[in-house]
Symmetry: C4
Subunit: 278 residues, 4 copies
């Protein structure tokens, strides 16, 4: 193995893995750099800050973009399968983190592209991914996947409720009270059902307020549904499924209830007692 290959592999472990101290240190610095670059993007959008420190922020932006560009090139260089990396989810995010900045810095009128730099936020998950957090995120995803169908039924119900309530409010309150169209009524119904309650559109008539009361009580109550679904699924995911794998010593049944002491098929004990026979 050549010394260059050796160096490349060590770089690969530092950049892509997280189990070595050097890899962890790299991840921490990367996290800090991503967050710092996001702060620069945000500050730059505040007009008073932009007017006063605009050129400083631009310089910092150049710096961060350069850093990310170097990181991208190094990742491409040390990755054993560069193309696979380049077209992976995080590879594309890495590219999107530098491309718009380069374009915007070159062409003055591509200013709005700068906003895409916010996508750098997603790079935070790259750091989280390579960590013990992955297992926890997996629990959450398993629970969400397990409750997918229930969640679709729930969202279809929500969509129907806001459509019907929004239309009713449009009829009851009318354009004079701010409910100028059915989509606006639906917007109001979502604001109310989710208990956000901006207050930009509010019912003025007695009938409208009575109907709102119904929408609010509904929204307040059905929040229990996704919570119940998710809690039940998460508890099941944490427990690791409904059944437990253990071969019955007497028959061929290999999955049993949690806490089963006897096989439910042959009735023999799953864990025979070790008797002193003497």
């Amino acid at each position: 193995m050549s010394s260059s290959d050796n160096w490349r592999q060590r770089l690969y472990i530092i950049i892509f893995h997280t189990d070595t101290p050097a890899g962890q240190r790299f991840d921490n610095w990367l996290l800090l750099t991503i967050l710092a670059s996001l702060v620069v993007v945000m500050l730059d959008s505040v007009s008073s800050v932009h007017d006063q420190y605009g050129s400083w922020l631009k310089a910092l932006e150049w710096g961060f973009t350069a850093l990310f560009a170097i990181e991208y090139v190094v990742r491409l260089y040390c990755s054993p399968k560069p193309l696979r990396y380049a077209f992976s989810f995080f590879g594309l995010i890495d590219l999107l983190a530098i491309l718009p900045a380069i374009l915007a810095l070159l062409f003055a009128d591509a200013q709005y592209l700068l906003i895409i730099r916010v996508i750098r936020m997603l790079r935070v998950f790259r750091v989280l991914k390579l960590s013990p957090y992955l297992r926890q995120a997996n629990f959450l995803l398993t629970a969400l996947r397990g409750s997918r169908q229930k969640i679709i039924v729930f969202f279809a119900t929500i969509a129907t409720l806001v459509t019907v309530f929004g239309t009713l409010m449009y009829v009851v309150e009318g354009p004079a009270n701010g409910f100028s169209s059915i989509p606006k009524g639906i917007y109001w119904a979502v604001v109310t059902l989710t208990t956000v309650g901006f207050g930009d559109i509010v019912p003025k008539t007695a009938l409208g307020q009575a109907l709102s009361t119904l929408v609010m009580i509904t929204g307040y109550s059905i929040i229990a549904v996704p919570t119940g679904i998710f809690t039940a699924e998460l508890a099941s995911a944490m427990r690791g499924g409904d059944q437990h794998r253990h071969d019955c010593p007497s028959c061929a049944k290999d999955f049993h209830e949690h806490g089963a002491a006897f096989c439910s098929r042959c009735g023999n004990p799953l864990f025979p007692r070790q008797v002193d026979q003497g």
Copy 2:
């Protein structure tokens, strides 16, 4: 069997069932048509869109109504028991989806009937009904039905709370601060207890604000009650789906795996053989 009968039965399977590829394709197209017709209804309520594309939308509306009318006739034709279909829940929804549009298109002054077309949204559930979602929706309904009595107690408590708090606020704040009557006070109490908080009526006096604090803390805390009820019931419903209720004759275990012959807790047979002792 005549060729007409054969054709009618094939239509019936496509339209009413969902297990064949043709049936699934029909369902998908129906879902798309329903949603498209809803979009037309909504867009038509936006005055700027109505002014500009009013005639186009009217034409589309004619089209969708014609489609739904044809579908309704075909459903009546191919259904083995047309009357039973016509008076079923979904049969009436199907009729309501075309009737107001026809009336409104014929009589110009029946314009407000058009709103009833939003009821087409309910037809979405017809598509969901004929699908694996049914089982999931059933879990949710079982959980809701199981917690019916607890939910009634909960709603009676909520109703009492908002009545008492609404009246107190009416006394404390008075008409000068927007609490012009007890129903208005109750409307405010619902807005606050459900944590919606529009802000159209807010307490101005110190005593009113202290009382509001109490209402808000109450609302924030008792949301736990329906959630707890529903979660506990749903977990039980989900367990009931995987397991089978049967009291073990030897111990108290009352839920067993499907197909269990012996109790997994005490190892005794679930269905003891009645032995002739002689």
Copy 3:
């Protein structure tokens, strides 16, 4: 037993019990009368209704008060222990439901006493109490009682959070932005932490908005705490305690874990298998 005593006892069963058809009919009528009298109280507070139908409502009010007074006297008459009834919780509620109305109808300037009539709402629970709902309400109360200490810790935390955040916002935003005193700041903190968000007082400075973000995220997250507490307690209350009473056939241990197959003290099976010995 005299015929008068017989009549008195039958009245007692109708009025105080709910298991006979007559008793249930009485309860239903009582519920309707209570709700109708509440509607009259509410309508009377709406100034436009009061101006137009004031005298009608007053007449109805006289009628309801007379009905409740008669009911109260009959309850006193037929109750086996009249004094005990008179000083029980529901006895006092029953008295409060008629007293203010009588006072207010006699003395014109005791108008505000009328508001106390809203206390009639509590009589609804008398009807609920005598019904299968009692058992469900009991589950809820058991769960609440079981989590009492946890809930006190939770409320102490909430109180500390709103005090500290309210004071901080008073310092950061100051009277110029509506945070005119610490109690006002605490009122705002409650409005925000409970996710009600009226919008009557909102942060204007950047630091205030950053701090608000913290308050909102906190409020959004800790809602999980009472929900979690209550759900866990309710599940436990529904399951009926953590342990199960069953005498071990071998030793004296009489409480065992749920689902225990063997005694955890002597290791012998709790439910010995019925072996055919032949």
Copy 4:
């Protein structure tokens, strides 16, 4: 043991412990004094009260500060290890409860230091700590600690969501509609996602309202995640309180009753005796 030492020890037990009647009485009085001093701090911040009763409140403030100072000195005196107390968490809180008041009463321009007196609120937890509430607070802390990693993943997701949504709204709505910078957009996204909904900044464009709908539905749904996490962990922590963790050497059961000698599932001894086989 000298009489002074005896006296000191009795003081120590009264002040630091809570199991004696005298200790409980001391705790109750301390709680009342802390809350009363907080009420004085709050009332003093209300300008109308300050103008009228300013000198009275100042006198009361002197009184409370004197009381707390005496208490602090007595605690130092009777504590067996004064330095350890002085630098403990509650020792520092006790000092902070008197220091700013003394400074502010001596130097007129240190007025803002008075706000720090709100920190006295934390002393309430000293009283709670020495009580059966400790065990309950421990359950909550165990549950929070157990779900730490899941909560970090959840907060990282929330942070990403509000950053991306806030930036999108800044682009879609722009400064003309109140979204004057990305941080302001993020502030709005937090207000909306947490369902607070102040209404100080609201979307005005159709696209902005459609996007808001998405944010609100997201916020309404993902509240289920921390609730589910916490409920599952709390249930586990409560089980862990009643049961004891020990892996059964024969089967997979990992939680057992306190004092269990045999596994309640397989009946084998939990702690097998090491037999000399010879």
